[in-house]
Symmetry: C2
């Protein structure tokens, strides 16, 4: 089990979510070959960090995964294009992120803003434009005032520092109630990531941005393959409200400056260690996002086993995790297993009433097509009063398994998303 350390704010916010992590360090670790900078550019907010720049040393490998939304934003489209063409030339890579404005659904003007930013960064950092990976998060449908950011590029580049990771993590926050970071070290390879989500600014949606850095040396095709696989069981296995952002972006950069042997293929025994550590960082960050879910008071793990396939198990899990009836039952601390049965049934995946079993934590609730003989309502209710709740469903059909994570659906969610006009 990989030991994960979390990033904690130096001065916790008063409105931090009830499920916010309770321990960690206030300093983001240094990663050989990575430098950060953050400034106040006044994109939308005043008096707070809202632009971050990260630099990866020449020779780094960069991998990425992005939202599958068909209405994805201009920066996402640029990242996809750059990922396809970015060669490991002897030039640095740059990540530029602003909060306050997502530059999504801004028509041709959006592409122009993204182009202007990427060109300004490339010129200042002395790298090809294809080495720049931009992201924007915040209001959608409003023109990005990119001049304000361009005006800060020199200041950002001048202040790049290996120690500024925590400031960078702060700069990408929107209405997150706490800063999100997680890291670990295995066999001399350090992996550290930061994330933002799932706070929201009207009229925006819960954009998720994730940046992970490692000093390991990993060939780019290997890095991309691993990242894609691990995303399925981490960031693609969480849901707050089933809605998908137009801007979700996950970038992984490996500098190779840590002095450990280069991983060229997945057969390398060090690759498995690297994967396990990377998965631990990704999983922890993804859980931090759920724990900051709007209005969340419960963290729910849904483990589905015995499915026809892993993919089928994932769909059943997501059907449960996205069911408003299940999520409100959890909010009400109601061990309402009937709603789990309903959510399994509506998933469209193979399931059989008579082979299905349901557990809350380790309490067997239902089996053989009915409530379990041993089940007592008080036992289920006790599980539901916990802050972290496990729901286990075995379909009794095959070897497919998947675990997903979500939070409850509360008055807080409605208040955040309905009560205030944008």
């Amino acid at each position: 089990m990989t030991q994960i350390t979390r990033l904690m704010p130096a001065t916790p916010k008063d409105n931090a979510a009830p499920l916010a992590p309770r321990d960690g360090e206030t300093v983001f670790p240094t990663i050989e070959g990575v430098r950060f900078a953050a400034v106040e550019a006044g994109v939308r907010y005043q008096g707070r960090l809202d632009v971050m720049l990260a630099e990866l040393a020449p020779g780094s490998s960069v991998a990425g995964v992005f939202t599958r939304s068909s209405t994805r934003s201009a920066p996402v489209r640029m990242c996809e294009a750059h990922l396809a063409t970015a060669a490991q030339t002897e030039a640095p890579f740059a990540i530029l992120v602003n909060s306050g404005n997502s530059n999504a659904f801004t028509g041709r003007a959006g592409d122009e803003s993204t182009d202007a930013l990427a060109k300004a960064v490339a010129a200042r950092m002395d790298c090809p434009v294809s080495h720049v990976f931009p992201a924007s998060t915040g209001v959608i449908g409003e023109r990005l005032p990119h001049d304000r950011i361009v005006a800060k590029i020199d200041q950002l580049a001048d202040s790049l520092s290996a120690e500024a990771g925590a400031r960078a993590a702060q700069a990408i926050m929107t209405t997150d109630t706490y800063v999100k970071g997680a890291w670990c070290e295995v066999e001399g390879m350090r992996i550290a990531g930061m994330a933002k989500g799932s706070g929201m600014i009207a009229p925006d949606m819960a954009t998720m941005l994730v940046y992970i850095f490692t000093d390991a040396a990993v060939a780019q095709p290997v890095l991309q393959e691993i990242l894609g696989e691990l995303t399925d069981t981490t960031f693609n296995a969480i849901t707050v409200d089933g809605d998908t952002s137009t801007s979700d972006t996950l970038i992984l950069g490996a500098t190779g400056r840590g002095g450990t042997p280069r991983i060229e293929t997945r057969d390398d025994p060090r690759c498995a260690l690297f994967e396990e550590a990377l998965r631990a960082v990704m999983l922890d960050l993804s859980h931090q996002v759920v724990r900051d879910g709007e209005g969340a008071t419960k963290f729910v793990e849904i483990a589905v086993t015995g499915a026809a396939s892993n993919s089928s198990a994932h769909k059943v899990g997501m059907s449960i995790a996205n069911s408003p009836l299940v999520k409100t039952a959890v909010a009400g601390e109601d061990p309402n297993w009937g709603r789990i049965v309903m959510a399994v049934g509506k998933s469209g995946e193979p399931a059989d009433r008579d082979t299905l079993s349901i557990r809350f934590g380790n309490v067997l609730v239902a089996e053989n097509g009915w409530v379990a003989e041993s089940y007592r309502e008080e036992a289920g209710a006790a599980i539901m009063r916990e802050e972290d709740i496990a729901i286990r469903v075995d379909l009794g059909l095959g070897g497919g398994a998947a675990t997903v994570w979500t939070c409850d659906l509360t008055h807080g969610y409605i208040s955040i998303n309905a009560d205030y006009r944008s």
Copy 2:
């Protein structure tokens, strides 16, 4: 346009939903060849009608559509089986419905209860068991006390009356805040339907039951084909919370006792008239269900055009209709078109930012990949303050179109589903 009349309660409930219909008649129309009865059997509730029996005269055609849930209830499974084998023998058909207990996820005992009920009804009504269509709605996972219902079969059969439709519609209600019925007449053919949903009893889900009767004469295969098609654009085009009941049942019975010529094929010009009238009844009942959606304060029509296909348009529409972010925006009277863009994007269906247009009512909000030049926030906000709201999305890709209906997501929904323990 078919003229629809609605059923209204003789004494409206104090807690009737804000969107409850405001006009109609308190008497359900008679349909030649159909008789109803309703009793208090004390299945779960005391002091209210909770079992209804409907009889269709010998020679009737019966069609049905049911939930696709893989965990569907024992009565649903029996109806499916009976529909496959029910011949037009010279015997009546019977529909038996209880509220208070859904007999879902009750294992083998559930099948035994359903068998016992069907046999008791068949014996008393002098029809084959395959002519009995049972349904149960209410708590799931608790054994149905079917003896209490069996004990009332004689009383039900003895009191069958053509005039008791309104009582029958009352008996199938659970936590519906108003009784639901709609009817019309075209070319001498009368069509009248009743529905229940989407109130809920913990630990139950929003079961929808619909029974429609006509005195038209329609060959069974034609009736079934029409019913299946019309369901796609009516009951399968509504959503309150995206959750699917284990018990959803829609039965359509045509007695052929109205004296109008028998419809043997869909080429019969009378068939188109019948279809149009039937669709009007189904659409009105489906809207009544949405208007009684838990916590609903807004009725929302989402019309998608310009899609790659009708099916693609339906999926985009449902993606918008089920989006918690869209539904909370509607609750907050927020003309938040960014969330519509998001919901289109996450649907997984073909869509192009630059060909997409969005209208609130007749107000053009977005086009050409950005907010429309003519759009003023006040115009969108004015639409959102209405009780009935139309959202129109044109994808600009093809000729596919679909319309779906939903309600908003409010604190009321959370209160109903989370605040009270079952």
